[in-house]
């Protein structure tokens, strides 16, 4: 037992090392990146937060949501409308964005959590498209297909570097909170629901209630991602809410590995950087991406990070045996 515990601490330290290293790299990144790639990095961070919110439902609770972009878009639209129409405070606008996404998440979730599997996926898709249509059609209120332009952050956040640091802080804090949630008794409960919902219900868990709470948390973080992105991009458009946008975290999770906390983050980084790089010489980006996803599904069923983890574990086992 004693030996086991020190071993655990050691591996914790080792794990901690690469995280600290990564954070240092992120902290000094603006010094090395062109403005173009700094922008890409910002997008990758925001989309990673979006993917983490999605993966709470998909990777941990085991339900595929195909309407997650609706909450991302709602967060973005709330901020855009509050800042441009009533010159609302930037910080309060972001909080409002999270709140709007959560409240709509509660309403949509109320209907969706009664279903599981493919029915859940289809209903979230339907609700997502419904919310998209409202935003798209309600021209007077949302600007319709024109979207909303001129969404500016406060003066000191106007430089991309400063905004990058703001995004980095929000991302790290959110990732920390989500990490804590997943490893909490609540997290253990939704993982158990994924593994065997019948067994879990017969241990006294009201499945729909826990699904609803998870749905709202996921909506809140998706809303936060949208809310912090829009003032950086200075504009918002209805395309943020479409099912195509909802598909991005799905692909990122599968690419990086839905079973690991940072899997979807890795997936989003690959997708975002790959996208901006490929666009330089071909417009057939979806074809390239599709091929990549296909390759991962066939050859690395646990995703790229899942594959790496597996190899590391194998090596550890060999070392332990020696």
């Amino acid at each position: 037992m004693v030996i086991k515990q020190t071993e655990q601490k050691e591996s914790m330290l080792k794990r901690g090392w690469w995280l600290i290293l990564l954070i240092i790299i992120f902290l000094i990144a603006p010094a090395f990146l062109s403005e173009f790639y700094l922008t890409v990095l910002c997008e990758a961070l925001v989309m990673s937060l979006f993917a983490l919110s999605f993966n709470l439902l998909f990777g941990y609770m085991g339900q595929l949501s195909f309407g997650q972009a609706a909450f991302y878009g709602l967060g973005g639209y709330t901020v855009a409308m509050l800042i441009t129409k009533v010159q609302f405070n930037f910080w309060l606008s972001i909080i409002a964005g999270v709140l709007v996404a959560s409240v709509i998440g509660l309403i949509v979730g109320f209907f969706c959590v009664r279903l599981r599997g493919i029915y859940f996926a289809v209903l979230t898709l339907a609700f997502g498209q419904l919310i998209f249509s409202v935003v798209f059609k309600w021209h007077d209120f949302t600007g319709g297909d024109d979207g909303i332009q001129g969404v500016f952050p406060p003066e000191f956040l106007k430089s991309p570097t400063n905004y990058y640091y703001f995004l980095l802080i929000v991302f790290l804090l959110s990732a920390f909170v989500l990490w804590k949630i997943i490893h909490s008794p609540f997290g253990q409960t939704i993982i158990s629901m994924r593994e065997n919902s019948e067994r879990t219900e017969f241990l006294g868990i009201h499945i729909a209630k826990y699904q609803l709470i998870t749905f709202v948390i996921a909506a809140a973080f998706a809303g936060l991602a949208g809310a912090i992105w829009v003032p950086f991009y200075r504009s918002v458009a209805p395309s943020y809410l479409t099912w195509i946008k909802s598909g991005e975290p799905v692909m990122a999770a599968i690419l990086g590995g839905p079973g690991l906390f940072f899997g979807p983050v890795l997936g989003m980084f690959i997708m975002t950087f790959f996208h901006s790089w490929v666009l330089g010489f071909t417009i057939y980006w979806p074809v390239v991406m599709g091929a990549l996803i296909l390759a991962v599904i066939f050859f690395l069923p646990g995703g790229i990070l899942g594959f790496i983890q597996e190899k590391v574990n194998e090596r550890k086992e060999i070392r332990n045996r020696e």
Partner: protein
Amino acid sequence: MFLQTQGITKEFGKLRAVNEVSLEIVKGDIHAIIGPNGAGKSTYFNLVTGYHRATSGKVLFKGKEITNLPAYSRCNLGITRSFQITSIYPKLTVYESVLMGLLSHRKVTLNFFSSAKKFFKEEVWRTLEDVGLADQANTLGDSISHGDKKRLELAITLGTEPELLCLDEPTCGMSPEETDIAMGLIKKFSEERGLTILFTEHDMSVVFGIAKRISVLHQGTLIADGTPQEVRASKEVQKVYLGGSA
């Protein structure tokens, strides 16, 4: 009065799987439900535990009507069950699986920020030791033997510290040695933890060896209910079920 069903009936289309069964389970008893294949034993369990809703009749637990309560609320009142087809967590470790029952029962599942692994260490280890799975604590649920899976399910349900534990064929598929161990455990828990146990079982030597009361179902109908001696003596039971061999 502990658990009581009053004229409980379950119909699947035209089939009456359980037909007006009125039965009382006494607190602290080890109570067996027996009957040939398709007699309605599992369906009766399903009505008691909330897996199915009764077509008619009532289920009362400690004087409270629970006929239409969902399964999770019945569990929270103290009724837990195992399934005929073992229901465990294939991709969770044995330790995590047992922990889940405790997290739920001790009402900490709405804790979002503490580490789940820090909870109830003593209780989990004690339960694992009680059922003899401590040495496999870090093994995944689907990598242990069939008999161990059955014991794991028992351990998971014990985590909810039930008052009434319903075990649907707890030794099904076990070797005779494993069966002895499992039945010994069940008896021990009943004595040590004051558990009331309702179980079904095909092996008559097991049933008559451990049960304090036996109820016999035949085509959904209760045809006998009493002590092992009384049931053994019942003409009707001999006719339809024991085939005179007892």
